[in-house]
Symmetry: C2
Subunit: 389 residues, 2 copies
């Protein structure tokens, strides 16, 4: 288990031993600063807030694309230990003014999409966090890399596996690191799912049911999620990626084949370009199967895994939670954390040390997901089982 | 809502108002006699134990096929209000002696498969409950009907829709009634699922996930469930029928198309004739989709439905429970009942009155399930979407 996740698990272990500190109190403190020594007397190996031994400053982050998700990233930055909101990239002068005033962004760190490439000369920005629509991920990753900045790109990493490969190569050439915004890799319930699956605590996992959906009946018809060029697809791209991800990291395997089916269109005035819902089945080398639905027709948010001698599940399970879950050994008792802060600190922990990012948060991980997502679409369109070997 | 189910719901309502009677006490009493007046002071419309106004005696039941399931039926008969174990049909002299001694079966009411047809002359048997392997359901239903006996046949009703049609026709010709052992129609959690779905309490149901499986790694390789001729198929036939049933009665619709996929064989020494696992997707006229897995690879037992403004779920959900569940309005609080006793009394309530059985427990309901099960197999074998119109 990589160092940062190990540390998170250790924190929860400590938390569970503390009888006199309320869970809420701990969670609130966890959100604003992991490792405050007064709360964690038995845990001394972890550095104090803002004092990584190898870091002289926080990672300076520019957020690129100020849509809804950018606000979650901003809140994560505010709660993070090793990162700081330093700049913005936006096409909206109104948003630029607003963020500048509210979050004290220096004028020199504010970019439009036209001026973005001049960020090359700005030494006060270390990393660009791309929260643009999916269809713009590739272009802005390439431009950020060319400008010498590390990149975190939101999931799905791009629209195709080929795009991902180009993004990975561009970052390698530029000597910058590329991460995908896989927040759940830093979330304690999901770290536990991964442990239960990969360490075969209940034996081999045989069947996973993982589904995520939000009813979008009231969405603005102009929302980019409904636009094929900007979104790349419907709920499979935006939600299904969590189902694919979780099945892959719980099993620790890559699927070798997929079958898939488009669901019916119940909101035809909205879903003219992208699918409204889709179901699929992933087949893994061990013989495990994962069945999933990603949908904009209704709400669903569940993860369940059945192994030889037990099962484990979360519901809510793949959204922003708060997660609830259990295994055959009993209910989970993990705190609610700021998922973006944990992810940002998990990434910064490596970047500040100039160490390579672990594979599971890297561009390579994003590429593997896109390979599967493309396979799902191919299977749904053809009605045929598609090999992913 | 048919009278008997209405009555069950009324009983629970009464139960929930009783503050001084423990739940377990109520449940035990419910198992041995619905409607004892001392327990149910506010419920007077319901007849006393054994005193249906139109019935002079209990329904006399012969159990045909003394395998594992026959013991559940026997326990149900012992706990039932309107039925009584009167006879047996078995190929095993040992079992015949054992049941005769333990359950006081008169010698004249004990039949072998060779002597079974002479039951025609036995006026002390009203109904034959067929708990034989699936592949024998048709033959023994036809023979029981010819002998002038009412029939309850366990699910799945037969191996094909055509078989079901022949069984229905034979019972009609013989002037006997034919029921399928759909115990969950009399189970309070499932009566509530049906109400929530069909009455659209949370609006239109859009997506159902219903899966049932038991890991059969340790099953006797000679068990009839592994034998194609006797079982008709693998877990789809024995477990999948519950997933199909529940989706049909929650939606109150018949599926119009199906896609399906066989799962991998992980126990190749056992699953040489029937599938080890299967996944499928049912498409309903309303646009609702039901995704399911029936498997012998691992344990799974879940039902979930998402509607426009809320969801409802059970887990355990399709087995013998005890069921646990909730809706968007909160946790369910229904008692645990003897499912076989409730089903037997539900059926006897009509047979003793010489009234036609409600459609949802009739042979016609079994036929509709077989139509879907056959469609699932056709879809899985062909890899094509199969129309059920």
């Amino acid at each position: 288990m990589p160092a940062f996740e190990h540390l998170v698990v250790l924190l929860y272990s400590t938390f569970n031993k503390m009888k006199n500190v309320s869970r809420r109190g701990f969670v609130e403190r966890l959100g604003v600063g992991l490792g405050a020594s007064i709360l964690l007397p038995s845990f001394t190996a972890y550095p104090q807030r803002g004092a990584l031994p190898y870091a002289t400053k926080k990672l300076q982050v520019a957020v690129c694309g100020l849509g809804r998700y950018a606000n979650l990233v901003r809140e994560g930055l505010a709660a993070s230990q090793y990162c700081q909101l330093a700049g913005i990239v936006t096409g909206s002068p109104t948003k630029a003014s607003q963020w500048k005033a509210e979050y004290h962004i220096p004028e020199k760190n504010i970019y439009s999409y036209q001026t973005f490439d001049t960020i090359l000369a700005n030494k006060s920005i270390d990393l660009v966090y791309i929260t643009l629509p999916n269809g713009l991920h590739k272009e802005y990753t390439l431009r950020a890399a060319k400008a010498g900045k590390h990149v975190i790109v939101e999931k799905p990493m791009a629209l195709t596996e080929q795009d991902c490969q180009e993004m990975i190569a561009a970052c390698q050439r530029a000597g910058v690191q590329l991460a995908v915004g896989y927040r759940l890799h830093y979330e304690p319930h999901h770290i536990e799912l991964k442990r239960l699956g990969q360490e075969k605590v209940f034996g081999q996992v045989r069947l996973i049911e993982a589904s995520l959906g939000y009813r979008l009946a009231d969405i603005d018809p102009k929302d980019w999620h409904l636009n094929k060029a900007l979104a790349g697809g419907g709920p499979l791209m935006n939600l299904g990626v969590y189902c694919v991800q979780s099945s892959r990291y719980v099993l620790g395997e890559e699927p070798v084949a997929v079958t898939a089916q488009f669901g019916p269109v119940t909101l035809p005035h909205l879903f003219t370009e992208v699918e409204e819902s889709i179901t699929w089945q992933l087949y893994f080398p061990s013989g495990a199967v994962c069945t999933s639905t990603a949908t904009s027709t209704c709400n669903i948010d569940r993860f369940f895994a059945s192994a030889d001698s037990g099962s484990f599940e979360l519901s809510p399970g793949l959204s922003y939670g708060p997660f609830r879950g259990k295994s055959s050994q009993g209910a989970f008792n993990f705190p609610v954390i700021n998922q973006q802060a944990a992810q940002l600190d998990g990434i910064a922990y490596y970047l500040l040390a100039n160490k390579p990012l672990p594979a599971h948060i890297s561009g390579e991980e994003g590429r593997k997901d896109l390979r599967v997502l493309e396979g799902i679409y191919t299977a749904a369109k053809s009605g045929q089982k598609v090999s992913l070997r």
